[in-house]
Symmetry: C2
Subunit: 244 residues, 2 copies
DNA sequence: GTCCAAAAGTCTGGAACCAGACCATTGAAG
DNA sequence: CTTCAATGGTCTGGTTCCAGACTTTTGGAC
């Protein structure tokens, strides 16, 4: 360091190699999967042995995490054949003050960080996707996700919205980019879950979603980038509005 | 899973919680810091106790990593007061075949992944930065980094180039975004180090760097995004050219 | 009704990792 | 030339985490 301390990158590179112990990180991961709706209400997690292998941890550690989530009321574990860990979580209806509480938990600066990060990676993903030649299969997927959001029941709205946004990143074919977008989204899920889903907002978002898809299918990176930026600015403004 | 297996995000969320053991991850991190030039030739790493704390690992584990890097010839460790671990690494002059070898090591699909990821996050960062009000201090920093690349000796060129690109991300004020850009860059450093630094390429890059800075200082997100996209496409094309 | 396969639940020995105390070396200041 | 502070080097006991073998429960197939 010393001589080059100020050059750059020191902050991001010399940060902790591990976010916490294996147990904590596993709980966090599973909770994210549940809250993002990757595994929805009533769905079953993969068998312990398979899941432990996928997460790269031992069964013992995974079981501790599952038990913690069970005790917290997120999972229902049943044994025997056809048993498993079933998700029983439903996003709670937001109450006044939830947002304030959620923001206080993460900190104001973390909020700005998350919103900035999300803006950058999602705009980047849309730009990249619009700039690549899309096959008929990919176009279908994109349209299907768009329809799914528009047809979603209020209780499913957030989940479908997440699926739509992540689909854009995943269709780029870059796992790194998809991971970054998933990361960005889950850093604001708690906040979004804390504000009510209102009709005018949904309609506004629907128009923006349509514009995003249109730009991507048109192969116009600039329009795609602008559409996503506009959409996310709207979301950020909504959040700040509820905070004020 | 099952019911929602196809929805999305499963791949990125149910991936391994830890990339390897603490030792391996630490070696990797330090090596990245060295190769990205965060700590340049002759610089000293922070004292073991401090570095271990920053990396969130025990001194024992850190020392193992340092010893590995010492044996690999990247560090020179001296004891006593004013001692420490000094970087002795200089980026090697590329030889014919190095690139092919580096690509084979990481895999073709990982290469595409890395290039796509980098395109998305760096374009996003430039867009965000151009869209934010910059203070005089930030403008200075940006110009300084630009000059540093242009004035760099050939041996320092890559390092200054990295510092320039990362500065854009860091100036957004988002640690998450800065981290993503650092990650993206280090995934291609080995490849870029494997191709020679040629005059025409440097001049071409210099013009593009200038265009990026101009767009950002003008507060034009679209122009900034386009300039970065163009620049990175040039780099990607260069890589592919050397591979063909 | 019996059997079987798939799943959760349990146990054990060992490896990895850690926190903290202590030792050894070095170069500068007095 | 003695002292001292900052640094790397070493040791010890305890915790976390792991791999793998084994047990129990469950519901369907025959």
């Amino acid at each position: 360091m010393d001589g080059a301390a100020g050059v750059t990158g020191a902050v991001s590179l010399l940060r902790p190699v591990r976010a916490g112990n294996a147990f904590e990180e596993t709980v966090e991961r599973l909770l994210q999967a549940i809250k993002l709706g990757v595994v929805g209400h009533g769905d079953k997690l993969p068998p312990e042995r398979e899941l432990a292998a996928r997460l790269g941890i031992s069964r013992v550690t995974l079981r501790e995490a599952i038990r913690a989530l069970q005790e917290a009321g997120y999972l229902d574990v049943r044994r025997g054949r056809y048993g498993g860990a079933f998700v029983v979580y439903r996003p709670p209806s937001p109450r006044k003050g939830d947002l304030r509480r959620a923001v206080n938990e993460m900190g104001e600066s973390d909020l700005e960080d998350a919103l900035t990060f999300r803006m950058a990676v999602e705009c980047g993903a849309a730009q990249v996707l619009a700039g690549s030649r899309l096959g008929p299969r990919q176009r279908e997927t994109l349209n299907a996700r768009l329809s799914a959001v528009n047809d979603a029941a209020p209780a499913d709205y957030r989940r479908m919205d997440i699926a739509f946004h992540l689909a854009i990143a995943e269709l780029t074919g870059s796992p790194l980019l998809a991971g970054a977008c998933a990361d960005a989204r889950l850093r604001v899920t708690d906040l979004l879950n804390a504000i009510p889903v209102l009709r005018p907002n949904i309609e506004h978002a629907a128009a923006q979603h349509a514009a995003i898809v249109e730009a991507i299918l048109d192969g116009d990176p600039e329009a795609a980038r602008r559409a996503v930026a506009e959409h996310l600015e709207g979301t950020a403004a909504l959040l700040r509005g509820f905070l004020a």
